[in-house]
Amino acid sequence: MSLVFLLAIPFAGGIVAWVAARWSAAACRWVALASAVAGLGLAVGLWAQHYHMWGAAVPSRSIYVEPVPFFSELDVPWIPQAGIRLHLAADGLSLVMLMLTFVIVAVAVLASWRGVRRRAGLFHFMLLWAAASLAGVFMAFDLFLFYFFFELMLIPFFLLVVLWGHEGRRRAAIKFFIYTQAGGLLMLISIVGLYFIHGRQTGTYTFDYLQLVNSGISGWTGRLLMLGFFAAFAVKLPAVPLHGWLPDAHSQANTAGSVLLAGLLIKVGAYGFLRFLIPLFPQAASDIRYIAMGLGVAGILYGAVMAFSQTDLKRMVAYTSVSHMGFVLLGVFAWNQIALQGVILQIVCHAFSTGGLFILAGVLEERLGTRDIGGMGGLWARLSTLGGFGMFLVMAALGLPGLGNFVAESLILLGTFSVSRPAAIVGSLGLIVSTIYALWLVQRVFHGPGGESKPGTPARLAPREILMFVVAIVVLLWLGLYPQTLIRTTDAATGSLLRTAPAMQSPEPGSSATEAQP
């Protein structure tokens, strides 16, 4: 029942935190932190318990059949009248996402420790319910259940932006809301359409993922259904023409909100592509493969160029997300073992490097009272610890070898190369552009003549702040130096995913990902 607890802990923790806030804000923070850590502990426990399975050889013809490391813990009828089941399960990919969720939420609680003073109860309630719905998204193996959590996520995120954001929060939140809701509804139409088409073909009306996988719906019906999913996930990711909400929402949310948006919400798009879009509609997905990869490359370059021209630090970091998520889209549609490993690594590393940069922006804003890059400068002299952390995170973001992002992006490009050389070649230009904006950022913020600090703010970092940076640095270093931990965990899961979509199969550049790691 551990997966049920992964849902129950944040749901219950949120309510307890809200109630606890009536007595003291500190109690509420500790409750929230404890729930996030408890969830993390449980997820890590599950991962460790199944560790021996992760590297195991996978029977070559099985799609999600035992003994693939895939444990389905709960599969009971929920609304039998409509063929809806409460099907919670996890494989290596889900577990990675779950661990990521709880780490990031714990960091978000720490990040708002001093910043959020009013309505703290409601804030932590929203934070934990966002975590719960994210956990649900990553465990749901029933399309209706997935949609349920996918929609549930919207309200906490909307309120996090609109109630605790910066000056332009209302506009940003409404924009975010309209984009994601429109995408979500198109997906709902596709889900219900898939349900009826599959039901008429087979006679069983079901939303169960394992039965719908590789549905064999092709032609225009399949393409239209696939586009519904594509719209929802491309908005979340975001893929380039649908990214309009992201810079506003990321820059207008408070630090915890930005960390959550960048670290988790947009990862739902990536997860959706991997788990749902391609396995459900392999044929239709392979039809748009090169268009999608083109969008990915466009995102890489566009995001990087836009990042270069920003003056607002948070907005700039937001655009780097667009660029990094372009790599994810590229890798997903390359659809081979190496590229998928790279995508998962990118998901995790981006959460920490960008989350860390948003925390940096929050810390700076607290001390300088501005997010304007032009108003910073000379920070290295004044806040040298922060300068060190900032330098590290920026280097991670630009893809310095030895750090996780480098491994992720090179694996993606390597996987892409065998599918589409032009995409790989143009995409790798992104690495160069990102170096330019990253170094430019370091120069503007940390070097040069210094401005004035806001009076009365501590020059030193609090232990809480140092802890957040250290978490990010440790993860990035670990995944940069020994990515095998993660690759081993997700190896079987990606293998299963690949086998669900034979139409997308392409020649592998190496025999397995394990040989290609740096």
Binding site: I79, Q81, R118, F149, L163, L188
Partner: protein, 495 residues
């Protein structure tokens, strides 16, 4: 008439008896608690009668057809009336000095609704509608010193009387050419007609539909809704919105479903147009509304539009067979729960001078009365169709019914307008959790201390009822089969 007939009709007997007993008691003992208690007991007894009536599809009399669907809705009506009693008890205690007639009228209104829910004949349809409407006139104008309430009642009276006349005339036309007044025959009676007879038949049906559409506040007949909702006392409007609409909707469902898209022809087109118009107009007009009661009025127009989508889809074949009926019954239930809770919050916040209507008066309510703010938030989220609330499941069932019947145009508008609706529902919620506190909400924090013991108890009764309503909304959002099993069983009469 046999014992079995008596058993089937027992809910009516219990309701009528309650009305008489309450009326007589009012004449001798004018105690509020006693009257409310009697009404509640009578309604509870009625509910017990509904449970034992367990009818098969049989004609209890020539006028009434008691099947599981009608029994389900009679049960729903009784539960709604019970909730309204719980909400009115505190409300009337604060605003009025006479109580007896209110409960008599409320019980009579429920009786009218119950007749509608089982009507099989034009005569019972008209009878039920009039009993319901006439009690509503009285109920809306009950706070007679409040000019807005009297104005609302008059507006409702005049328009309802006109549409009743149209309804009667339409019935006469249909009867004149087809010779039948039985609802299930009327729909097919036009088949053999030609020339002026066919025209008269169609005109008659159109007039009947206009009469029904007025009660449901579907779009071309919706003009009265915002004014009446704004002026009327909140608990009464909760009854009007939840019970009276549900009762009239059952008539529509019972006489139309399963609506065969091939044979339905013109009817499907008319209903589709009405659904499009209601969804669009209701949601668009609510978007920038600054008055909570008017906002709820427009939102209820939109909600009825969604329900018509399910009626249009009720004849689908295949896996969705009966899905339309299930969707309607489920959605009407959760709509009733949500509207009762929303108007209940307004009723609890009301004082002798009036009710808080402007959205700005709700600023900061989340800090002053967290329970009430939570109740209102959950019911609005349910109306918006957010997960964890019953509204999400309800909307999904309508969606499923529509997709099964391949009504893609309606579904796209349904999806887009309900996305739009989130904007105005969320605006209310954000207002309640704003940091600054409106003077109205600020005054609330101090008033519970200043209340007398009796009023505090009444307040607690209402809040308990609201919490129960909210809890059922959440329960149905998390585990809908508790209700769906019952509804599926009831809806099987349409297979």
């Amino acid at each position: 008439m046999s014992d079995a007939h008596l058993l089937v009709l027992s809910p009516y007997i219990a309701l009528a008896a309650t009305a008489v007993v309450v009326m007589l008691t009012t004449a001798f003992y004018h105690r509020h608690l006693l009257l409310a208690g009697l009404t509640a007991t009578g309604l509870a007894a009625t509910f017990a009668c509904v449970l034992v009536a367990g009818a098969e599809d049989r004609r209890a009399t020539a006028l009434l057809r008691m099947n599981d669907v009608s029994l389900y809705f009679i049960g729903l009506l009784v539960v709604v009336a019970l909730a309204v009693v719980a909400l009115s008890y505190g409300y009337l205690g604060r605003t009025e000095r006479r109580f007896g007639d209110f409960y008599t009228l409320l019980t009579l209104g429920a009786l009218g609704g119950a007749v509608l829910a089982a009507s099989a004949h034009f005569a019972s349809l008209f009878l039920g509608l009039e009993v319901l409407s006439v009690s509503l006139y009285g109920l809306i104008a009950y706070p007679r010193r409040r000019p807005q309430a009297v104005e609302a009642a008059f507006k409702y009276l005049v328009l309802a009387a006109v549409t009743s006349a149209m309804l009667l005339f339409g019935m006469a036309l249909v009867y004149a050419v087809s010779g039948t007044m039985l609802l299930d025959k009327v729909a097919s009676a036009g088949a053999g007609l030609a020339g002026w007879e066919a025209a008269a038949y169609k005109a008659g049906l159109a007039l009947v539909f206009a009469g029904v559409g007025f009660k449901l506040a579907l779009v071309p007949f919706h003009m009265w809704t915002p004014d009446v909702y704004q002026g009327g006392p909140a608990p009464v409007i909760a009854f009007l919105a939840a019970a009276s609409k549900a009762a009239v909707f059952v008539v529509l469902l019972q006489s139309l479903a399963p609506l065969d898209p091939q044979r339905g022809g013109v009817l499907v087109v008319v209903l589709s147009v009405v659904a499009y118009a209601s969804m669009l107009a209701g949601n668009l007009l609510a978007l920038f509304q600054q008055n909570l009661k008017r906002l709820l009025a427009y939102s209820s127009i939109a909600q009825l539009g969604y329900l018509v989508v399910a009626v249009v889809s009720s004849g689908a074949a295949g896996g969705a067979r009966g899905a339309g009926t299930v969707a309607v019954a489920f959605y009407l239930t959760i709509y009733a729960l949500a509207l009762l809770a929303a108007f209940g919050v307004i009723a609890v916040l009301a004082h002798a001078e009036g009710e808080p209507e402007a959205l700005s008066q709700y600023r900061g309510l989340g800090h002053r009365r967290p329970a009430l703010a939570l109740v209102l938030s959950v019911s609005l989220l349910s109306l918006a169709g957010m997960p964890l609330t019953a509204g999400f499941i309800g909307k999904f069932f309508i969606f499923r019914a529509g997709a099964g019947a391949a009504q893609w145009g309606l579904l796209v508008v349904f999806a887009l307008t309900s996305a739009m609706s989130l904007y105005y529902y969320l605006r209310v919620i954000i207002t309640m959790y704003r940091l600054e506190v409106a003077p109205y909400a600020a005054a609330l924090a101090t008033s519970p201390g200043g209340m007398s013991a009796g009023r505090r108890a009444a307040d607690r009764v209402a809040v308990a009822a609201l919490v129960l309503l909210t809890a059922s909304t959440l329960l149905l959002g998390v585990y809908p089969p508790v209700l769906l099993r019952l509804i599926e069983h009831a809806a099987s009469v349409f297979r």
